[in-house]
Symmetry: C2
Subunit: 357 residues, 2 copies
Amino acid sequence: MSLRTPAGDPREVTAKPPISRGGRRVSVKDVAARSGVSFQTTSKVLNGGGSVSEATRARIIRAASDLGYVPNLQARSLVMRRTLTVGLITGDFSDPGLSRILAGAEQEARRQGYGVVITSVEPEGSGTEYALPAMMERRVDGILLAAPQMEQDRALSHVVDHALPIVSIHHVAGGGVATVGPDDELAGYLATRHLVELGHRVIGSVTGVRGRRLTQSRQRGFRRALDEAGVESADELVQEGGEKVAGGSAAAASLLASRPEITAIFCDHDLEALGVLRALHDAGRRIPDDCSLVSCDDLDMAQFTSPPLTTVHVPFYETGAEAMRLLLRVVADSKARAGRVLLPVHLVTRGSTAPVA
Amino acid sequence: MSLRTPAGDPREVTAKPPISRGGRRVSVKDVAARSGVSFQTTSKVLNGGGSVSEATRARIIRAASDLGYVPNLQARSLVMRRTLTVGLITGDFSDPGLSRILAGAEQEARRQGYGVVITSVEPEGSGTEYALPAMMERRVDGILLAAPQMEQDRALSHVVDHALPIVSIHHVAGGGVATVGPDDELAGYLATRHLVELGHRVIGSVTGVRGRRLTQSRQRGFRRALDEAGVESADELVQEGGEKVAGGSAAAASLLASRPEITAIFCDHDLEALGVLRALHDAGRRIPDDCSLVSCDDLDMAQFTSPPLTTVHVPFYETGAEAMRLLLRVVADSKARAGRVLLPVHLVTRGSTAPVA
DNA sequence: GCGCGGGCAGCGAACGTTCGCCCTGGAGGT
DNA sequence: ACCTCCAGGGCGAACGTTCGCTGCCCGCGC
């Protein structure tokens, strides 16, 4: 289990350890030869185990560091039947939310001594057939899924059925996969309740990609808040904006056209909100005076729009970290199957919302 | 007459191939047993080589697919002495530029059939001592460096000296490492020349992190453009803004305070530019009427600021892809050492610049 | 003086591959 | 009838580890 690399001897004044020796990487056998013991004994020492005299132990450590020995994880994995590596299947790297998730996941894995092999699947789904086999070939100990577009992927059931630990950030077709993610319904609810509390009674919504679970959850929260307050929730008050700025812009424009009396808009994503902001501006409405805007995600940029965005903070980094934590727990102890973890979210009030005029 | 395994399990036409068999992963030996040949022959067939009759070949393929055989890359790597895996050492995932670089690199690696094991180093430098050993243990075939903060890292010379192919996006201490990156000096030059051509004669600059190569290059381009046009380039016209929004804001404010007659600002990064935008706004200057602003990077957000940012487009994605391409070329053919590749950049004119009033 | 236990180290096997060499049998040539 | 040749396939070895067992020697108690 311990991933020890030979500690460099500070007294070593001579050249830094060579990485290669005679063209070949140095192995335990080389270290063994240099310290006059069998390679198995060397292995024992380097892994901290066994009963070995202090003298030879020191000799071996010394030799290892002299030679610049670096253990070969491939060989080790072969016999240990675990690679100390997890697979990370992701969507678009440049999605700001996703990238924070990745950061959290990677760092947590690293903290626990695991390596991460990463592969992304293209939005169009290409790469899906590549991702899984690639991970299996590499014999990862588990897989962390952070690819929204794989929600529908049936190929996953393959893996799911057959005891390779897997945790997903997003919903997975067929269920049965442990999921860790923000409480999206709560996010929608909090955002909307905020608007309601400010006195808004005609509230429009610009949604994310319609088919996606995340969108559905946030919208559910949206409706719940409206229902609780007895506020109208007509279908025409809801427009799909996709996940990009331009989509948000278009959706908002069409919203304003059909229901000009709108005084507030709830938006599924900050990125869309940027588009909405622009559309409102173009329509000559001042924010928040003429129209309030609240969204979800709390990306870095949210504090730098004008006005700064009131939005529900979604703990992306923590989501990635927590998902990885759960995955590694299952990896370590296969009985530790877990269901669905919901991470708390909270509203961050900035300048884009105000009491209804 | 094929020799079947005594196990003679019923050929299930419906069920998908099992991933595990009897708790253990299926290996070539299992496939061999089922098709009545030696495992070495199986290996030959599965790798497309050797001379094997069409009949047995088919039988083996069939058995492999029935059993859901997935080759073990660990074992293969052991004997082949290459892992078909490259290491990707990166900085902050959520840096928009970096994340695009990662995307390019990952996709190119995937295209060429290589896996990517990724690790990030924290801004404070922690993780540096971890990253390299982790890569070496995993016996990656090469390393792609995309971590600005490792510019100064001396531990790298270790690797560099000893024939592990390595390509970096950023400058590496000690030199000797192949580098692929945007032409940063050109970026600074193009941006500044644009301002000069618009008639600006008092031009301030908000820079990135001072110590960084990238900053120095862009500033060099900035000065060159000024010098060519015979425009003043006083030190007090240059303020360090770091790489974040807040820093840009502060730098711009101090610039305006010391030289109120400034009519244009050149900014090293879009993110800073966002801060500058805000500072200008706070100072009551309209953009671009009272003050022009140009920056570098052309992040997605640049088109959504108000006004949209005139900026030099930097091909992040292509940088990552090209760097990976170069790395894999060196991996495949160790003689193919290469020096420094500069990728072209170009100015994108939007709304934040105008002729001087 | 003898047997015994324990500390220390060695040894063989296994993990799942690839690679090169060897063996076999039957077809074809003389 | 004999040799040759080649396609088809087996076999041993190696890659760099870990693990469990075995064996040696020494010191100690009786």
